[in-house]
């Protein structure tokens, strides 16, 4: 009975937020709100990706910004240097990030805990150094200005201009919905259950016949593919990319969104992504104090709410399963 009630409330909330997200651009003309919403949408993609790797498969990565960057650079350069259409550059950006994700996945296969984290940090730093120093391609620290927007798309007399914020918002919105649906079905499939088995107990998972190599690599591949898509959307929206956007700090932000939202659930990290994006924007009022407060709040939040703010039932269940410390 309680569960039923909870479920219907949840469905109602999801439906309501989807409708709100859909109609917002129709009611507001405020560019700033739209901008923040588009950025939130891009973060949702990043967070969904990291959530697959960390929240479901249990592999902590602090190199997510590297894949975000690889997607952004690949897609921007394909469009600018080789004159690819956006609709081709976008998936290739994702695939390039996914391949890089596999490259990280291989060393990560054998690693756990702090070793894995430091390995992913090193991977992120290497990618950052490449963006910084491969000047003939990436223009180094100066970045690449003038990344084209997806352009116009016409059906008969009807022209859709993607350089308009509202139109771009719907593009991001649709991609987020597709990603969400794929995510939802993935984590409820055999693959998703294998991820969770690995997260909960790697050895036990292996014993019951879960192919660790295959599923860990799948997690890395799918998670980083989403990051690449997000990178491409970011590059063609902002129009300027530089190594500064794809640093360890960015990876940390993405991780904070996943953890504070509540990893291992789908709604939690989305809540984290939108919440943190808006919070960081609101905190601009604090100017210089902004990051100091951010650090302090993070420290406190981790101690008070180590499992994030969302996913009550899920968290409870997981807590019961957790081996007791002596």
């Amino acid at each position: 009975m309680m569960k039923q009630k909870f479920k219907s409330a949840k469905t109602f909330l999801i439906a309501a937020s989807l409708i709100i997200a859909f109609v917002i651009p129709l009611i507001t003309e405020n560019e700033y709100y739209l901008h923040t919403l588009i950025i939130s949408g891009i973060y949702i993609l990043l967070v969904l990706g990291l959530n697959l790797i960390l929240g479901y498969a249990g592999q902590l990565s602090l190199g997510h910004a590297a894949f975000y960057g690889i997607g952004a650079y690949t897609s921007a350069l394909l469009m600018m240097k080789l004159h690819f259409s956006f609709w081709l550059a976008l998936p290739i950006g994702g695939i390039a990030a996914g391949i890089a994700g596999l490259m990280l996945g291989f060393p990560a296969l054998r690693l756990k805990g702090p070793y894995l984290v430091i390995c992913t940090i090193a991977f992120g730093e290497i990618a950052h150094q490449i963006f910084m120093n491969w000047e003939s391609l990436t223009r180094g620290p100066m970045g690449i200005p003038g990344v084209p927007s997806p352009g116009e798309f016409s059906i008969g007399n009807f022209v859709i201009d993607f350089s308009e914020k509202q139109v771009y918002y719907y593009l991001v919105f649709i991609i987020v919905i597709i990603a969400l649906l794929l995510n939802y079905f993935l984590v409820r499939s055999k693959t998703g259950r294998a991820f969770v088995a690995i997260r909960e107990d790697q050895t036990a998972a292996e014993v019951i016949g879960v192919n660790l190599t295959f599923y860990k690599l799948t997690a890395f591949l799918s998670g980083t593919f989403l990051a690449g898509i997000a990178g491409s959307l970011y590059a063609h929206y902002i129009g300027f990319i530089s190594p500064e956007s794809f640093t360890l700090g960015e990876s940390i932000n993405i991780l904070v969104m996943v953890i504070v939202g509540g990893m291992g659930t789908i709604i939690g990290p989305i809540f984290g992504a939108v919440g943190l994006t808006f919070l960081l924007e609101l905190m601009r009022a604090f100017a210089d104090y902004r990051m100091v407060i951010y650090g302090l709040v993070l420290m406190i939040l981790i101690v008070v709410l180590p499992e994030g703010t969302m996913g009550g039932i899920d968290i409870l269940r997981r807590n019961l399963k957790k081996p007791q410390k002596i």
Binding site: L60, R110, P114, Q129, N133, V292, G295, L298
Partner: protein
Amino acid sequence: MNTFISQLINGVVLGSIYALLSLGLTMIFGILDIVNFAQGELYMLGAYVGFFLIAVLHINFLLALVISMIVMGVFGILVERFSFRPLMGKPHTSMILGTVGLSIFLMNGAILIFGAEPRRVGTPYSDIFVNLGPFSLSMQRVLVFAVTAALIILLTLFIQKTKMGKAMRACAQDLTAARIVGIDTNRIAMLTCFIGSALAAAGGVLIAPLFLVSPVMGLKACLKAFVVVILGGLGNVPGAIVGGFIIGIAENLTAGFISSEVKDLIPFSILILILLVKPEGLFGKYIPEKV
């Protein structure tokens, strides 16, 4: 050949700093099981304390070094009490984000208090040169190595010869068992943070006259220290020392012979390679003594 030797000397100097920074990192991991992302900030704050003692209060360099180590040691105890202890026993993800939060807090706090612009620290030792055959190097560089060596010897003596050191080794092996035999593990944790933070501060003060002091100096150094501790074996004290020198030398030789652009790429590539081939690090993790 000349380039080789002068880069080797630079590498040893930089390696000393990495070793000091990594020692604290590896000890804190060995005993508290926490990967401290704020280790670089302790080093940065140590450098700032040194800066104020030397440039503002005109205190003698070596005295400033000692004072800064003590000040930051006490700060390390506060960090243990208010940041690490609440994190103990939490999942790795939480511990990492907790110290990341601390690092963000300290770095931006430093920007707020000291300003973002880099500062220069002058010492008389920078103008004295020591001649070694065809090479001359500033007394400051000799001092960096000499002080590091002295601190390492003192630390080793402390860990091996004193009762406290023995208790630390016990805690590193098994915290629960150490508690059972009556060791006050909280005190040992505080002591570890005192030492770790003081060593990082020593690194900061020593490097201050050679490079500039700035609030963001800690982050980069901390990432290098991660490489060092993995290279030497996480939680392994001799490993951190040897690893520090290896990374420092490798970095400078790359800068001298290949190009300074790839200089920062080398440590991280070494790290990925080590993790692929020998994840337990050069000194293995089955050495019975982690501290």
